[in-house]
């Protein structure tokens, strides 16, 4: 596994429940201002992840829909507001800049981005990158990396709750 100054975790054999659980754990640790980048092929579960994240922020997950056509959906949670972006339909970085996503991010806002490749050049080190890959139709492999201090703690807590996971650091 690639070593870098960022933390890096790989979680395999994750069924949908586990994926949602992880998102929920992450949501509990969000304070506002964080960016989550969700990278993965069609149907790997990025939107599913964000639904569970939203639930952790006290947002009704049924209100969290795919932002493919709307590009950015805004959900108002109990303490934080969740900006849910999907850059699938965008074709170049200037289109991303026009969204002014970073301008809309505030101390009480969290940003989750599906298909985040176009955003790569603009995000500094402070982001949580989550890569989703198919293992099979119902199982996914998730790769987490990022410099938020709470990631390590969160993964450890998560392991305590889940059994079918392997930690590689």
């Amino acid at each position: 596994m690639e070593r870098s100054d960022k933390t890096f975790y790989e979680l395999g054999g994750m069924n949908e429940k586990a994926v949602r659980h992880l998102a929920f754990e992450i949501a509990k640790r969000l304070e506002g201002g964080e960016i989550l980048l969700l990278k993965g092929d069609l149907g790997t579960g990025k939107t599913t992840f964000v639904k569970a994240l939203a639930e952790g922020l006290r947002i009704d997950p049924d209100d969290v829909r795919s932002p493919t056509f709307t590009i950015v959906n805004t959900y108002v949670g109990r303490n934080l507001t969740l900006l849910h972006a999907d850059l699938y339909r965008l074709s170049d970085p200037s289109e991303v800049l026009e969204l002014d996503l970073l301008g809309l991010l505030g101390p009480e806002t969290v940003l989750a981005v599906e298909w985040p490749e176009l955003l790569a050049g603009f995000i500094g080190k402070n982001a949580l990158k989550i890569e989703l890959e198919y293992e099979d139709e119902k199982t996914r492999r998730l790769k987490l990396s990022g410099s938020y201090k709470w990631i390590e703690r969160m993964v450890k807590d998560f392991f305590k709750k889940e059994r079918q996971t392997k930690e590689v650091k």
Binding site: G43, R65, T74, Y75, L104, Y134
Partner: protein, 330 residues
């Protein structure tokens, strides 16, 4: 009373003028070749370049209606839902015009706009009626009870139907936009497979189409010999079955005998076939509006604004964009 409305919630910049409920002009950045007033150079009309598009569209809309800006009595704009930066362009422009000419201002809900679009096609449509709004960005069953009384009966919990068509088309190696491509392929195929219909419990009017992506993907993986056309047909059948079963069930539950189908997916022939069949069985009237009023436009916004304005209901000038505006009363 002349209402000028601006729609800029997402991809489209649009301006329309309505006089006493009658449409005088409607222009869209995606459909109009605008010649710049000075120099004759045609500027690039790109999606979401609202700030660049807006004054040219204003010129066009007024020109086609043979009006001057001070012939307008009310200025309206979409308040939400949508992209906040895009919404703000339309809202701010409308407010600026309102202040400049000392005319009232009205903020409009985009979703209610889609409902009112039906009056552009069916001026005599009477309340109450049901709307299945099904496009790339919307999949909702809406109940229009009254000029000011709307309910969302059902909605998708993840992907919109049109989005599903587009993404499955990609998985099947078909072009964009996916809807027509899948429909074409399906016509040359047979729905010999069965994909799951999500949320199909009785009385559940919500939809879910995201599972179809994974289902189709793994089906193709596991059945490399399956004909694309057959998979397309099976997928299409699953979506349409879901849409129509729930929609007609809602009509029955709410005692409505009129259903309007709106949105890009309503262009689908198979959906129209099946809808007609079921409608005959159940003795329900169904309506399919012309495509131009189903996709985002400003005429529908103007119609809503007109209804409010003629009742003296205006919006304060500090009305801000609400990107997450949901369907509430006017």
């Amino acid at each position: 009373m002349r209402v000028l409305a601006i729609e800029s919630s997402c991809d489209e910049t649009a301006v329309a003028i309505v006089e006493d409920g009658k449409l005088l002009s409607s222009v869209l950045s995606s459909q109009v070749n605008i010649h710049r007033k000075y120099g004759g150079v045609v500027p690039e009309i790109a999606a979401r370049k609202h700030l660049e598009n807006i004054l040219f569209l204003l010129d066009e809309a007024l020109d086609r209606a043979s009006l001057k800006i001070d012939d307008i009595d009310v200025f309206a704009a979409t308040q939400g839902p949508g992209l906040v930066g895009s919404l703000l362009v339309g809202l701010s422009l409308a407010k600026g015009l309102s202040i400049s000419l000392n005319k009232p201002f009205v903020a409009v809900n985009h979703l209610i706009g889609h409902i009112y679009a039906n009056f552009l096609s069916f001026p005599d449509l009477e309340y109450p009626f049901l709307v299945l709004l099904v496009s790339g960005g919307h999949t909702e069953i809406l109940l229009a009870e009254d000029w000011n009384n709307f309910k969302r009966i059902g909605k998708t919990r993840d992907d919109a139907a049109g989005e599903a068509f587009d993404k499955v088309a990609r998985l099947l190696g078909l072009g964009y936009p996916g809807g027509p491509e899948v429909e074409l392929a399906a016509r040359n195929g047979n729905p010999i497979y069965r994909f799951p219909r999500a949320l199909n419990e009785k009385g559940n009017f919500d939809f879910s189409f995201s599972g179809l992506k994974t289902s189709v993907l793994y089906f193709l993986k596991n059945n490399p010999e399956a004909r694309i056309e057959d998979v397309a047909a099976a997928f299409q059948e699953a979506v349409i079955d879901s849409l129509l079963t729930k929609t007609f069930a809602a009509a029955k539950t709410y005692g409505i005998n009129k259903i309007v189908f709106a949105g890009g997916v309503a262009a689908n022939t198979r959906l129209r076939e099946r809808a007609n069949e079921i409608a005959k069985e159940k003795d329900i009237n169904i309506y399919f509006p012309p495509i131009e009023f189903c996709t985002d436009n400003a005429a529908m916004i103007a119609m809503v604004a007109y209804e409010k304005a003629k009742r003296g209901i205006f919006s304060p000038i500090d009305t801000n964009a609400i990107p997450y505006l949901s369907i509430v009363s006017l």
